[in-house]
Subunit: 101 residues, 2 copies
């Protein structure tokens, strides 16, 4: 089994020009996700980890996050989208098709 | 298939106190890995991506990197270790047991 059951990476990279995840509140929404996961007691080995990452080169789909080991990529707009990914995918193992890219 | 065949995350987080990956040249060695992967033309969709990541909470094993979707974790000390991971794992799909954690 993977060290983390769900290892989530938010691109929080900032580009000076063109599309980038940081232009879409990625850092604030990653921080929100990390706090929610902590409050739900989902954090830790065999459970979840939410990390910042550099540019994952899917800028035009941004903001993006990826959930490993599944390798499911999502885009999101706001806290409600993040909540849905946490509730559906991280708590119940169900892919959120409407946000999947 | 995963968007990236191998998605590699180097912890490059810096902690003010205690063990941390940044104290072990993690940023320089991640930059080296990224450049090597580029020179070997391994970069791109269905191929490889090498990213920085925040603290992955395995500080005492650091410096660490993880290769997804396999979820194989490695520690490394120098460019030779990074070269071995690239050559064995990313080019030939073989886990480097001596560096695995």
């Amino acid at each position: 089994m993977s060290y983390y059951r769900y290892h989530v990476f938010f691109c929080t990279h900032h580009r000076e020009e063109g599309a980038c995840c940081a232009n879409h509140d990625a850092q604030a929404l990653r921080d929100y996700a990390k706090e929610q996961v902590k409050q739900l007691k989902l954090t830790g080995p065999r459970k979840c980890r939410v990390n910042n990452a550099g540019c994952m080169d899917r800028c035009n789909k941004g903001p993006v996050l990826v959930v490993y080991p599944e390798g499911v990529w999502y885009t999101y707009k706001n806290k409600e989208d993040v909540d849905e990914i946490i509730h559906e995918h991280l708590q119940h193992g169900r892919v959120v098709e409407r946000l999947k890219i």
